[in-house]
Symmetry: C2
Subunit: 343 residues, 2 copies
């Protein structure tokens, strides 16, 4: 019978996660029933959202996350041995599934690694696609698009789609190396937010203001942009608030009722939202799930045409999942942070 | 030749406006040229937006504002003597105009006062109409609609349109008398925000959360609602932030680039906007100007049918404009605050 290694979450995060918040266990997988498949995990995703979403997960549960896997045994007619699938598999090296949460990665071009199904051609790519083209619409050629966390899995795709659509792309990231990367993939302006004043640099890069602000970061950065740099009728897509995720233990969050409580104070933005008639919308990519095929096709086509570049930050070894997750939260990655199962 | 009395703005507001910020002057009006009309002002509007918009007005300028007037002389074929018009006339008892900024109040039902053209059947009514039906769309029957400043010129219409559309209407206002008024015009729940805890009262009135929040107030009230009480995919229409307008001199505002700078701090709302996938949109009614006829017709029809009640808070005498304006900002009015020119 097959075995799997699994990371369970065993402690609530307090500030940045630490390795001791996770426990690596070995599980015996049950024999397949009719309708089930056995999958071997090839690549696992570490993403910022995980920092937040585990709050509702009972301690002792397997850690959540997307992954790419190969079907190695199948009693489900929809999957055959050798199929490459992706889905919400969790932090596991192998798994038994009824297949309902697995999708065949048939949209991948022939010459790209299968890991792109959790990256530029996966959830992060679709997040960029829908967040920019739907939440920030209308996005006309010439529109000024601003994204922070720009060298991350989502941010780099946002800037590249902006360029594909004829927009001006402005990106902020946290190192000079990341800034060089952004310029190399076509961003018109790129800044190391640790070295520049946001207001000054943005005043020069976008003197007439920003049409669409794709916010992965929140905090002071977002406040400055929304207060001072949006054009009339500007759109703000709130995709993440990574500056806030690791500031305090959840127990100290103030007032919120959901997954994303307020943990810090800032200038009130309602006046600017009113005065400039902004639309500020939060979105989670799952709401567009019925349009996944559309996004997958478009993203894959752009990759084939060389218009959309991809880059991965690969950590080898399943046992390094917590390390890779923590490093990603601290900004170690350029492009998509993934873990390769080397078993 | 006709004379007019005019209020000029002669000092920048510091906190609440005071009467000394205005100067009453008498003007000699020039004889009519071809294409011009002479109007006598019948009713003048005092509105919260004036507190903000005068910031860009050079000192010594006539004070801005909407008004209803009667044409008393005309060299413009589009207007005849006796026509009732409304428009951005300013704080004046009489005026000469080329008519471009005047609209004939032909949408008023026969049995209502002409002053409704600056109230329930005017800019405030249209603000409620577009803010609720357009900015907060989709607004399905049964949706929970929350409005603050609910006894004001806009707020009372928001709640009544919500009821017309089959929604649940919840209103907050600043006195027990206002709460009684809200109940009398059909609000399902009404609270005196000075006497209740917002979170507790709203938890009872809307235990499953709010679909559409029409925000006239901003500040702590808005923070609490957005952080803790919105449903998934809820809509927030930011129409005003009256809690913030009189807190500080404009010179002390922080960071903003426009008319509505941030003057106070609050909990950061981006996490809640993301987590609940809210859409928070600021709007100024002028953006819907090309649909004014649609709103005027709908509002007038509802008044005719008795579905939309109107109430006015009338101050007599043009010389009392500043007093009426200041009292409105302090919440003295139930319904639309207007000044009647008794000359």
């Amino acid at each position: 019978m097959a075995k799997a290694r699994v990371f369970n979450i065993v402690k609530r995060f307090s500030g940045y996660p630490v390795e001791q918040d996770f426990e690596l266990v070995e599980q015996q997988l049950k024999p397949l029933q009719d309708g089930e498949v056995l999958g071997k995990t090839l690549y696992l995703s570490v993403d910022p959202y995980m920092r937040i979403y585990v709050r509702n997960l009972p301690l002792g549960s397997p850690m959540i996350g997307g992954a790419v896997a190969r079907i190695v045994e199948s009693k489900n007619p929809q999957f055959k041995v050798g199929d490459i699938v992706y889905g919400r598999i969790g932090w596991r090296t192998a798994f038994v599934s009824d297949g309902k949460d697995l999708t065949k990665a048939t949209h991948l071009p022939a010459d790209v690694p299968e890991s792109l199904a959790i990256g530029t051609l996966g959830m992060p790519g679709r997040t960029a696609y829908f967040g920019l083209l739907d939440v920030c619409k209308p996005l006309n050629p010439g529109a000024v698009v601003l994204v922070n966390g720009a060298a991350g899995a989502v941010g780099n795709v946002v800037g590249q789609i902006a360029k594909i659509k004829g927009c001006v792309a402005i990106g902020y990231a946290g190192s000079d190396e990341k800034v060089e990367y952004l310029k190399s993939i076509g961003f018109d302006h790129a800044f190391n937010y640790k070295k520049v004043d946001i207001h000054e640099s943005l005043s020069k890069a976008a003197p007439d203001g920003v049409d669409a602000f794709f916010d992965n970061v929140g905090g002071d950065f977002a406040d400055t942009v929304i207060l001072r740099h949006m054009k009339q009728f500007g759109r703000v897509a709130i995709c993440g608030s990574i500056s806030q995720y690791n500031l305090k233990p959840e127990s100290e969050a103030e007032g919120g009722k959901g997954l994303f409580d307020a943990v810090t104070k800032g200038p009130r933005l309602q006046g600017a939202i009113l005065g400039h008639q902004l639309k500020v919308e939060g979105f989670i990519v799952l709401r567009f799930a019925d349009r996944n095929d559309e996004a997958n096709s478009a993203l894959a086509q752009w990759v084939k045409e060389g218009k959309l570049k991809w880059r991965e930050h690969v950590t080898e070894g399943f046992e390094n999942m917590p390390k890779a997750f923590i490093a990603m939260l601290k900004g170690a990655n350029i492009g998509k942070a993934i873990v390769k199962n080397t078993e």
